[in-house]
Symmetry: C2
Subunit: 557 residues, 2 copies
Amino acid sequence: MTAQVQALYDFTGEPGTTEMSITTGEILTLLNTEIGEGWWEGRNSKGETGLFPAAYVRKISPEDAVHGKAAPAAPRYDQAADDWGDQQYSAGDNNYQRAASHEDGWDDDWDDDTYSEIGPAQQKSHQAQQAPLAPLPGMPISDYNHQISDDTTSNFGSTVGTVRKNKFAPSSKVSGESYLLGTLNVEVPDSEKVYIIQDEDGYIWSPIPQPYCVTVASPKKESKFKGIKSFIAYQLTPSFNNIQVSRRYKHFDWLHERLQEKFTLIPIPPLPDKTISGRYDEQLIERRRVQLQEFVDWMCRHPVLSKSEVWQHFLTCTDEKRWKAGKRQAERDALLGLNYCISLVVPEKALLQSQVDHITEQCHTFINSMDTSVKSVSNMCLAQTKRFQGPYKTDCQKVGEAFYNLGNALSLDEGTIVSTSKLTSAIKLTGGAYIEIGRMYDEQPKYDWEPLGDKFHLYKGIVGSFPDVLGNHKGAVQKKRECERLTAEHKMEVAQLNEVLRRTDVISYALLAEINHFKAERTTDIKATMQKFLRQQITFYKKIVDKLETTLQQYDE
Amino acid sequence: MTAQVQALYDFTGEPGTTEMSITTGEILTLLNTEIGEGWWEGRNSKGETGLFPAAYVRKISPEDAVHGKAAPAAPRYDQAADDWGDQQYSAGDNNYQRAASHEDGWDDDWDDDTYSEIGPAQQKSHQAQQAPLAPLPGMPISDYNHQISDDTTSNFGSTVGTVRKNKFAPSSKVSGESYLLGTLNVEVPDSEKVYIIQDEDGYIWSPIPQPYCVTVASPKKESKFKGIKSFIAYQLTPSFNNIQVSRRYKHFDWLHERLQEKFTLIPIPPLPDKTISGRYDEQLIERRRVQLQEFVDWMCRHPVLSKSEVWQHFLTCTDEKRWKAGKRQAERDALLGLNYCISLVVPEKALLQSQVDHITEQCHTFINSMDTSVKSVSNMCLAQTKRFQGPYKTDCQKVGEAFYNLGNALSLDEGTIVSTSKLTSAIKLTGGAYIEIGRMYDEQPKYDWEPLGDKFHLYKGIVGSFPDVLGNHKGAVQKKRECERLTAEHKMEVAQLNEVLRRTDVISYALLAEINHFKAERTTDIKATMQKFLRQQITFYKKIVDKLETTLQQYDE
């Protein structure tokens, strides 16, 4: 069967290369998934073939293509505002998708190992076994599923189908509606409760009592199956125990999916770009390490994420058996999406809906504007890196060569005048200095443009997730309004409505705390980032000045 | 009649503009000479039309084109080595060419005034009147002309025709053969004698007893004919009298031609490039001023040129009547080309031909190599200027805009956290700083790349003239050998040969002195140039550092 994929994002291929431009929604015939480095090869409707990033497309079933309903564009804010239905998928869907993607090498582009620890055959059956979610004791997951499937005709979540209706997500679900409607009967132990408190800036997540950090260090190439398969492992060392754990990209990827399905009111920092640029493997691996460090730093500084069980398990587990047990437990987590709010303890005070609306609208405007400017900084960093390593370097070298050749030409006529020799040597050294400055331009991006780009890769991810967060909150508010209408029509008890109102407030408190957390984080973080960037730029231009001053001294008698 | 021109040099048109590439030797049909700024419009044999620099072509007569003999390529050293015959033209030819070029606006590209002080009609008749050279008292110019025309079948000067045989130079001539053969009977007054002496570095021109300098200042737009015609006048002030004279480009051009026909063993510094680049009239005019200053400086520092009568007249004459008288006198100068050597007083010692050959060969090699590297530095300066004012500026501005927009986006969400305001303002200022650095890149070439380019424009001209200088010397040496053969065949008296040998030595002394002068000049001059250039570069990068440091301080609390 000829596999088909659909573009989720626009991608502009580099002209003159094997890359091919694709447009969101475009259907392509898949020709080769074994290209490596995150690239797939395909053919478009015009018959052109070329490479595109695997991450920019999704596989589709033939029916999707025929009925033309498989056009889930990349979630953008505007769309999310209309189709604000819950867009994350449940753990069950996800495993299914993971199993499928393991087959087609989805995470193959990061290392050579497409297999699990156990091997491809076992892996598949292992995951297939997990696909139907085993309910935890005390969690009426079947009730929940029933409830939701009964509810598919209501406004709430009715648009989910347009976004996730494909073979990987056959049934639409809204995580957490059971919480809102009070049908979720889970007791959260005190140790797992998360507090939202009020400080001078508004409602905030209760600060981390014992802050810690985690270093992502020296990626190592490891291999298994007697060296047939090799992969990169990153060494993580948390400051609270100083015990190093080794994690591969697929572990990060698995963690990221768990976090995304669990925390729908908290933007999860992005993993490294799959289409990262770099000329050597070592540079690629180092850039990914830096971006993983950014991911880890953001996680550590977040009061909710930093204490989440799946994250702690990821950071600390060193035993393979315990790893698998923890993995299964995380995949069975019942408190996903809005259901997670049952863990929250918020101030008593009821929130004014108009105030909440005002803040979310302001946030919406802000995020829209940030999205553009964060992408523009990110693109600019990429462009500057290319400029420094390309034309800037080349220009300096041309200047250097012109001077060097001048020195050479002048030295052809030496001998009678003593001072000429000193001069020609100085001119040749000037040539050498500019060639060296060219090399400095080549090296420089790793000190300024690339780290800045890595930071803005993080912000691009956070800012890009915010529309979903706002959409999820908006969904809850609309559900609340629906309940208010039902009560007005005497179809819902006032007591039940009050419960819904209270729980909607909990959801709003969570959003407000997250908005404030993002604000506080970025204020400190962007300041430090800009300072670091400017210091590196200053160092660079000072080095040029030093180089030229040393060169100038060569002309002294 | 359709005028035709032939390309003297290769010119590569800027792609995407109205410019057209032309190849040396190519014949083009002239369509329009009224384009201005030194450009003409033409059509090539493929039927393509476009603009090219007027200075890169010469007009040809229809016969030339038909017989295909009008292919005088730009003189290069290799060719000059073979066709070493005297390539300058006499004053008579020159006036003829000047008159013709006045008609077609040859020097029209420098100012709007194609007319002389008197007006077009008088100018033409005035110059036509001068075309037949009036012999000076005591100068047997008719004998000289007769001698030369009798000699056209000899080796000496036989290749001249391929270089200058066009309607502007109907008869071939070798300036100065009469000197070599002892038929020039001129008494040079002691005050006009030029001495060559021996110092530790070899034979040199006797140094200038009272060095002076001349400033070329503040070009002014002047006009005549009640403002219909306007032109640029440069103000020259010699240090020896402090009396300012006003000179237009056509005066410089006239001076340059006089110098070139008189001093065939001394490279004459070039006038400003006609195809100088610049976006505004003011910039163009200023670049020309700087290049004129380079010309003037070189003249002042040259022991022979600085004291020449025509130059002194150019520098000091303030009276229109005296100006015309001096002009006529210069145009009637008998001591042109090798004949000028009758003014020289050289050491008694006879020169070893093998030593002279060694030095000229070394000079030949050196000049060949210098020609390439001087052109390459010159092109590099032009390229760097374009890079600084184009992509470097634009890149900085893009960086600036990305930061500025980021600051703007962040400021949308201000109000509750006080420190944000300080941060967004700092980020906006960072954006502003990079936009300002972009402007600095735009401004910078006038402090480093353009002056460096102007200096190397001078060297390009000097180095480019050296092949002719060497060729002129070589011609004299060959003539000497011819005389030696004639003597061996008893067709020439030994006493007459000894006179020829002595005079050939005078010519060789002049060449050696000039080679040494150029060496000494460039050693000092290139050193100062490089130092000045590097200081400007250092200042520039220091300014960037300063700008960034000030910006960094904005982030402090």
